[in-house]
């Protein structure tokens, strides 16, 4: 679901074909019939944006028919725990949970906690930027209690136990409701349920694959929660052949999340400090509660080691290891907010490092206008990209919105080294780090980012030398003494420092259990600790598959600690025996008194299954011998999230921000905490209960083609790829083609309230209209790889998309919106602006459209405006 694996990850798809040849059944649930569907046993067309309704239906089917893997659920999930009496469900509040404040469009999550547990200090009436999720990193939000302290009902019968709360929450997600919302016939839906449950349990497992078809929604995080709940109920986490595969789309996008270039994270999913954290201990208390159970309990060691790596000798216990040097966040600083801040003139300079937002980000026009309003822009890429030339050949030149002679942005284009011109590691989609050796030297001015940022660091340090300004201390004290090869740091030495070094011996540590909170270790990213164990680059291991068995795991190195399946303690029953011989992975070996098996056990090696934590313990010690989910604050997998999410403890079907449909389940139409930016330059198409949604009657979704790569800089420029997919097209069903008078290979244009985009028409049976609640709904699809540069050029599909974000992670909703389609090409130049304006007027669109997000009870609340603060005030001018 939400993945077109054969097209987006063709080489990974060999394993699906392999599984199929061995008898596995493959089901593809996707709005259109793709190259993946062509190889599925069953393709299930679904309306884009309704996956939670579908998955909720699966949960309901499982719970109503007692099809869950009960022993697994009872032992490893939080199903038995009781939820607070003050908790109210969407069933009670017409689609909202208790604690909602329409004024700030955010929740106070206090009432979601377990019954007798002191849960997260709640965000109160802070805006959702200050609420939990993005400040957590990946740690479980905490639940303070000693083991056994949570009130529970092992029989799962108590009306307030998670199991029953879940059952009630999804009780309305019946096959009939799934059919009405998703357009999936009841019979088809039940076939999927049967296949899923029949292939789960002791002897069998089912895997779930998703990609950005799930994440790019205003409720994206909850899509994944919904998938997780199904996989937990069916016992499909931590076991061989089970799990949830998040297929990621870029060579090291996993790495750039682990070692983040993200505003709210530090390496290893430690949260970025915020304004509540005056001292290191404030910060650490925010990462792990004092009584925190599980491995986040050691986050003091992870953080102190990071500070030691950042500031070296300057970081001492006396000065809080320079924690004070950390900048603080206090709100939303995501890339879309930043683009808006560029338009507002608040951002002076911008670096683009192998990314092309003029084509690849939602609302390309906003991105380009933002970049045309900078003081300076640095672009580093292999080839010339549209983002570097907004002043020269952007679509806004044609419309007259950007005039080169009036565009002030100073642009530096630096040619970058390619993957064969530098050494280093990529982290692939299953968390495996693989080292690349350098093949050739880069020519001309081509350089790596390592070179570039080393040069910046060295020169800035020189420039600031002798400064007495307090704000320059973090730069002057910054440890930047990596081994240098020529004029750039040795990537291997940087990786050593990421791995971590024992400062008393100067040697690399062998893993995160060796990290200390006393300043005697330095480590750049605790989850990567072990990648340079024994002073050896483990990511460079290349033991051929011909010379090793399936579990030898000596190719590359997978975090954490070369473990291949996370939470694999759950592959054994509470007593430590494999659930079945057929599906064994790790188990307790009584004789040797430790966990053993085919994978690195994701558990303390010598902790026996019957271990119970002593009263008052915390951290890993507090985990019992059957607490398989060792990173969670209660050692359990969460069917119900008592804290940590902005939009509710359980997934709920909300219609997309732009939808042709009223929510059939609740008065609450869309996500009540989605990030909306009501601005004249970011209009929304109306959705029920707002009027005029019929002006944009079709459901739009976009995705990749095999033959191109994202924004196209690495494919549209290459003749061998450009010739394989030589033009931008829009896929429509024959029915829609007839309705709108579109002809195969002819021109059409797709229109939203943002703009109109030209494309050639591809009429195909692979697009089928769906019957949604008694009416026929058409879906259209476009690939989004085109722009103005390269051997094949075309309009920017992302220009159609507005900026609306998931309330948890701020990812934009770009997988579903509404649109109109008309035959022929769009108007050119300034006439385009007038044309789109005419559509907006017809649809009655104002800045408030789409921002009245609280609709429970059937009435529209007043418009919700995302606060511009805390970045509102003019920055203090420095002397």
């Amino acid at each position: 679901m939400g993945s077109n694996m054969a097209e987006a990850h063709p080489v990974g798809f060999q394993w699906i074909i392999e599984a199929k040849l061995r008898g596995a059944k493959v089901i593809h649930i996707d709005p259109r019939f793709t190259r993946t569907s062509a190889h599925a046993d069953q393709h299930v067309p679904i309306r884009a944006g309704t996956d939670i309704a579908f998955l909720g239906g699966v949960v309901n089917h499982i719970l109503s028919n007692d099809l869950d893997f009960r022993e697994y659920v009872a032992a490893y999930t939080n199903a038995p725990y009781l939820v607070s009496e003050s908790f109210q469900d969407t069933e009670d509040l017409d689609g909202l949970f208790s604690g909602y404040d329409p004024h700030t469009a955010s929740y106070d999550a206090t009432s979601w906690s377990y019954a007798n547990v002191n849960s997260e200090p709640h965000p109160g009436h802070d805006a959702k930027e200050r609420s939990d999720p993005y400040q957590h990193g990946a740690r479980g939000p905490f639940v303070e209690t000693a083991d056994g302290g949570i009130e529970s009902d092992p029989t799962l019968q108590h009306p307030r136990c998670v199991f029953q709360v879940l059952k009630r929450h999804f009780s309305r997600y019946t096959p009939e409701m799934v059919a009405r919302i998703c357009g999936v016939p009841e019979e088809t839906f039940l076939q999927v349920c049967d296949a899923w449950t029949a292939n789960s349990g002791r002897e069998r497992t089912t895997s779930l694959v998703y990609s950005v078809g799930w994440t790019q929604h205003s409720v994206g995080a909850q899509y994944i929660r919904a998938g997780s709940i199904v996989q937990l109920l069916t016992g499909n986490i931590g076991r061989p052949g089970s799990g949830i595969f998040a297929l990621r789309g870029h060579a090291s996008i996993q790495g750039s999340t682990d070692i983040p270039t993200l505003f709210n994270l530090l390496p290893g999913y430690l949260p970025m400090p915020d304004t509540r954290h005056e001292t290191l201990s404030d910060y650490l208390d925010g990462v792990r509660g004092p009584e925190q159970k599980g491995f986040w309990g050691n986050s003091d060691a992870y953080m102190v080691s990071l500070l030691k790596e950042y500031w070296g000798d300057a970081a001492t216990a006396e000065n809080d290891f320079c924690f004070d040097y950390m900048p603080r966040i206090n709100g939303d600083h995501n890339t879309y907010r930043t683009a808006m801040d560029m338009l507002a003139g608040k951002v002076h300079g911008f670096f683009l490092l192998g990314q092309n937002p003029a084509v690849g980000s939602a609302h390309g026009r906003l991105q380009r206008l933002g970049m045309a309003n900078l003081d300076w822009l640095v672009v580093r890429d292999l080839s010339m990209i549209e983002s570097a030339t907004v002043w020269k050949d952007s679509p806004e030149i044609e419309t007259g919105e950007i005039v080169p002679e009036k565009c002030r942005t100073e642009v530096f284009f630096f040619p970058a080294s390619s993957h064969v011109e530098k050494a280093g590691t990529f982290t692939q989609t299953q968390r495996m780090l693989q080292w690349r050796d350098q093949a050739v030297e880069p020519i001309g001015d081509r350089r790596s980012e390592l070179w570039f940022f080393h040069q910046l660091a060295v020169r800035i340090k020189e420039r600031l030398a002798g400064s007495t300004d307090e704000r320059d201390r973090p730069v002057l004290d910054l440890a930047w003494d990596y081994e240098v090869e020529g004029d750039e740091p040795s990537p291997a030495d940087v990786l050593r420092h990421i791995n971590g070094i024992d400062l008393t011996t100067g040697r690399t540590v062998n893993g995160y259990p060796e990290l200390k909170a006393d300043g005697s270790t330095a480590c750049g990213c605790w989850i990567y600790s072990g990648v340079y164990a024994n002073e050896t680059n483990q990511a460079r291991r290349r033991v051929s598959r011909f010379d090793s068995g399936p579990y030898d795991a000596e190719w590359g190195w997978t975090w954490p600690l070369n473990r291949r399946i996370l939470y694999n303690r759950a592959s054994a029953d509470p007593e430590g025996r494999p659930w079945s011989e057929r599906k064994k992975l790790v188990w307790w070996d009584e004789e040797s008194g430790q966990w053993t098996g085919n994978d690195t056990p994701d558990f303390e090696l010598k902790k026996p299954p019957h271990y119970r934590a002593p009263e008052g313990s915390s951290g890993p010690t507090a985990l019992s011998g059957s607490d398989a989910f060792i990173m969670m604050a209660d050692g359990k997998a969460w069917l119900y999230a008592p804290a940590g999410l902005a939009d509710g403890p359980m997934p709920t079907h909300y219609e997309p921000h732009e939808s042709p449909m009223r929510n059939l389940l609740y008065g609450q139409q869309g996500s009540p905490v989605r990030k909306v930016y009501g601005r004249p330059d970011n209009p929304s198409n109306p959705a029920p209960p707002e009027a005029n949604s019929d002006v944009f009657p079709f459901v739009f979704t976009a995705a990749r083609l095999t033959e191109h790569h994202t924004a196209g800089a690495m494919s549209r420029q290459l003749p061998y790829l450009a010739e394989l997919q030589p033009a931008l097209f829009v896929e429509v069903s024959p029915e829609l083609a007839r309705e709108r008078g579109l002809t195969h290979l002819g021109w059409a244009h797709v229109i939203t309230s943002r703009t109109a985009v030209d494309a050639r028409v591809m009429v195909t049976d692979r697009m089928a209209p769906l019957r949604i609640d008694g009416r026929v709904v058409h879906q259209v699809w476009m690939p989004y790889h085109w722009g103005s540069a390269g051997l094949t050029t075309g309009d920017v599909v992302n220009d159609l998309i507005g900026v609306v974000g998931d309330g948890n992670v701020f990812i934009q909703e770009s997988k579903v919106l509404t649109c109109d389609v008309q035959p022929g090409q769009r108007p050119r130049g300034p006439a385009l602006l007038a044309y789109v304006e005419e559509y907006r007027q017809r649809a009655g669109i104002t800045v408030e459209t789409g921002t009245r997000i609280a609709t429970a009870g059937g009435h529209l609340e007043r418009a919700h405006i995302e606060p511009d603060e805390p970045d509102d005030d003019p920055p203090e001018e420095a002397s």
């Binding site: 003749p719 061998y720 394989l724 290979l745 209209p769 026929v776």
Partner: protein, 340 residues
Amino acid sequence: MTRENSFHGPLADPAGEAGHEDHPPRMGFFTDTSVCIGCKACEVACKEWNAVPEDGIELLGMSYDNTGSLGASSWRHVAFIEQQRPLGHQDAGLTDLPVGPSSTETTTEVVAEALEATERGGANLGTAPVDLGFPSFDLPGAGSGVENRTQFRWLMSSDVCKHCTHAGCLDVCPTGALFRTEFGTVVVQQDICNGCGYCVSGCPYGVIDRRPDDGRAWKCTMCYDRLRADMEPACAKACPTDSIQFGPLDELRERADRRLADLHAIGVSEAQLYGRDPEDGVGGDGAFFLLLDDPEVYGFPPDPVVPARDIKSMWQHAGTAAAMMVAASAAVFLGGRRRR
């Protein structure tokens, strides 16, 4: 002077027949289209290795096929066929959906026109989606719900030079540019080819062609240089799902027979082998296929015949190269008619 079956019929050892002593086993391709995901890695890997130029950035709209046909600069070609037919034991999910007419017919028309504008007028190669004459639901007012588009499948298949046991191109080549290698494959030697073009009409599959710029004839060499280094051809090596399999032809034929039996066993009764039979009109192909429909659906001639089938008797009577050309033209003419 010639041996039995030098020009047609089964021939156990084409390389030996061509004078190669102590030669390696005959190597070939078995393309199992039932696992082809249509990624076109074969097309790119081939072009990268053999430095085949880009040959047209043009939208053909034959589903996802923008290559159109094999040619001088397309030595691999992935065909995409959208059909109103079920695939064995697949549920395409379209049953019961409120759909009207299929697009197949309309797109076929448009694509045929588009193809005629291409260099080789590829439409007559039959690679366009084929309407099999299933009942059309193209009723007035269709699309509102009562008529169902009941079945659908999307086939993909990577085509390549067949490296025939009896290769028409080779038989008619007057310069010795085309030759049979020690691996039993058929290769154009660019240092010899003078661009006469006889081979183009000699090929019953429409594979070999001349490049407009240099006039010489080009086609798949089965990566002759790689084979000599004991490496597999670039396309087979890249193929993500092992749809393109490379190896000794004997082994491939056994493997294909097993795969065919497996598919029949799980209910894919439409699966069939193409080019596997040494008794066929070209003595069997060095590159053969497992298809999920009749060959013409994929653009293959259903019954290819080497133009030199009758050459032995002709040689005896006339023995002129001119006659060969006549035979070649006649065979192509006949082959073409049969395909219609």
